[in-house]
């Protein structure tokens, strides 16, 4: 288990990489963008980006707006 800060909240996950985090949160296949410790990732980078305790992950998407 690793403890991550995801979208501002502490959360324990089994995940080893960002792609695992996205899958574990039930977001696989959804148009989500990930940022890890301030660096924006392309989706291709998810599988090679390992997660460690204390990492700060933001998962964002498009919402309605002007």
């Amino acid at each position: 288990m690793v403890e991550l800060i995801i979208n501002g909240s502490r959360r324990e996950v089994e995940a080893a990489t960002v792609v695992d985090v996205v899958r574990e949160l039930g977001l696989a296949g959804r148009p989500v963008v990930a940022e890890v410790d301030g660096a924006v990732l392309t989706e291709e980078q998810w599988a090679s980006t390992e997660v460690r305790t204390g990492m700060n992950i933001e998962l964002v998407h498009f919402v309605g707006g002007g």
Binding site: I6, N7, G8, S9, R11, L25, G26, L27, R30, P31, V32, V33, E35, G38, V40, L41, T42, E43, E58, L59, V60, H61, F62, V63, G64, G65, G66
Partner: protein
């Protein structure tokens, strides 16, 4: 008549108007037949950018988008709600590839925050256009001109197609253009107020001086506001609340589209000069009264 009947009648009216689009003078009048415009590599016919917030439901939003004829849709970037299992992505309701997406940096207060949101938006792979929107305070949501200029400079260097939302000040608009903005988007009035164009002189001057498209963004309330913006020389309109918060958003989307087309055609056609006193249409020669 019941509320439901009234609504269905309204819906029919809207459909009739839309299907009569082929009879619209625009289709046969040569003056606007090839009146396209361009941002970056995208050539457009529609001069209506539509926001996607505040609609009562996805069905009404989809119909309003269709009625508007918009080719460009705006979005915001927010955290995914991890507590909600359902797919709340707005994109699931839109036909893939049918629109140019214009994400905004709303919620940012500094250039750095706006740049961060812009990079997140581009990493979606959906668009490299970005509407820079940096609010100085929550009460007015007025754009911070200094931070907007800084963010524009950074994002242009990073290869974004940058469309800054900015106050209706001709000088800051010129500086944004010099910084490489692909279009300038002055507000008519504060976001969501529906007050219309508070300073037509400034909007007219900005449109006259700019060599990139000027898109009047924010503060408009109804169709006459959109027509006025186009008459003043704007290339296009960006709006959200006036459509989404109308009693009939689909009808209002069509009303705005027609007003934009009418205002554009009036601008191209050249209005008559204003006069202080009357001037008879038939002259005073050969009067039958002595």
């Amino acid at each position: 008549m019941s509320e439901a009947n009234r609504n269905s009648e309204k819906q029919t009216d809207t459909n009739r108007n839309m299907s009569s689009k082929a009879d619209w003078p625009n289709e046969t009048y040569a003056g606007t037949a090839r009146d396209t415009w361009r941002i970056g590599n995208l050539e457009m016919t529609s001069r209506f950018f539509l926001g996607t917030g505040l609609f009562p439901n996805p069905f009404v939003q989809t119909e309003a988008i269709r009625a508007s004829g918009a080719e460009v849709l705006t979005f915001a970037i927010r955290r995914v709600d991890l507590e909600s299992a359902e797919d709340d992505s707005i994109l699931q309701h839109l036909e893939p590839g049918a629109f140019q997406f214009l994400p905004n940096t709303s919620g940012s207060r500094t250039a750095e925050e706006a740049v961060r949101i812009a990079r997140l938006a581009r990493a979606s792979g959906l668009s490299d256009w970005i509407k820079v929107e940096i609010s100085a305070d929550e009460r007015t949501l007025l754009p911070d001109p200094i931070e907007t200029l800084r963010a524009t400079e950074i994002l242009v260097k990073e290869g974004f197609t940058v469309l800054p939302y900015i106050s209706d000040d001709p000088v800051i608009c010129r500086k944004l253009e010099e910084a490489g903005a692909a279009a300038i988007m002055p507000g008519g009035a504060p976001i969501g107020t529906g007050l219309g164009i508070l300073n037509p002189y400034n909007i007219g001057l900005i449109a006259e001086e700019a060599s990139v498209p000027v898109i009047v963004d924010a503060g408009l309330g109804t169709a006459s506001d959109a027509a006025l913006a186009m008459e003043l020389g704007a290339s296009a309109i960006l709006m959200n609340t006036p459509v989404a918060k109308a009693q009939d958003p689909v009808g209002m989307a069509l009303a705005m589209r027609l007003a934009i087309e009418g205002g554009r055609l009036a601008h191209l056609s050249g209005r008559m000069p204003k006069k202080r006193y009357a001037s008879a249409s038939s002259g005073l020669q050969s009067l039958i009264v002595e």
